[in-house]
Symmetry: C2
Subunit: 197 residues, 2 copies
Amino acid sequence: MKASVLFSGGKDSSLSAILLDQFFDVELVTCSFSVLPIGDIAKEVAEKMGFPHRVLKLDDEILENAFNIIVKDGFPKNAINYIHHKAVETLASDDVAVIADGIRRDDRVPLLTNPQIHSIEDRYGVYYICPLLGYGRAAVNALVEQYLVITEGQSDDIIKADYETELREVIRQKIGQDEIDKIFPSHVQSRVIGRVK
Amino acid sequence: MKASVLFSGGKDSSLSAILLDQFFDVELVTCSFSVLPIGDIAKEVAEKMGFPHRVLKLDDEILENAFNIIVKDGFPKNAINYIHHKAVETLASDDVAVIADGIRRDDRVPLLTNPQIHSIEDRYGVYYICPLLGYGRAAVNALVEQYLVITEGQSDDIIKADYETELREVIRQKIGQDEIDKIFPSHVQSRVIGRVK
């Protein structure tokens, strides 16, 4: 069975792919609005991991709606969850069998609710699985240390192939850098730079 | 790293062990009050699966408390969750590194709360992981079909090495069979009878 893993180039989505590798034909899928070349960044990581990779273009309207949500809210949670929900729906409608999401036990964003998950599984006939949902941060880090080589830094310095990166860029273009610093809390990002074989 | 998988001989705990096999040194652990020979039943399944197995004796007091809870409640949820919490604590204090639990996304019993999980991880210095927590029933069944041979039947007919089996037996001994039928909803149980290599 083929599994399409939502892939940001970070450690959680990379580890999810590794956990599934023995049981599924894994492909990595990076969702992008083509605002920044995040598809290329992710492809480079995917090659180092040894998995096939493709970029899924998301509708510009989704990004516009997310921009309106985040400006209204003043914080990123709802906008990121909105993009994630639409991204999973877009991928589900794209003739896939299994969608895998790298969310961990203690993550709150981006998170689908159980009703959203059941609705997507029923409407599109797919399995939506989260291989790391039953793992805490420390257990994930122990596995990452064993199977991946990563680099970490503040979210300003590490360009990741995730929704936040393009949403920040749109805010920068439309309102300016100052607004980004107000809306997004600074947090540590990881990017995978290799796989331990 | 060694992972101790809570093992009932059912499909969920068996599949959990298979998912972890590539990444951990898996041992299967069956918790028992020695009211019924469920340790022997589980050992037989574990041998078919090709994993080392041991039985962890739980304190009789836990079963007595659970009996009092279930008789007071008239339904099994709280008593089963109580035993599970105590079983995980007992195993955590038994010099293990990783405890794995076969619960699925849509299971409600037996379920630890996130505060209970964090408390156990902090107090005992263990990782508590649930490899199937991010999988729905249909996705689990698809993997089971590929990797396990199972038999299914009503909970009266299939003797499983789980908490419910011994709790039912204590109720039968102390109050009688009629009470079991009132307290426990009839439901389909699975037992693993082989592994697809």
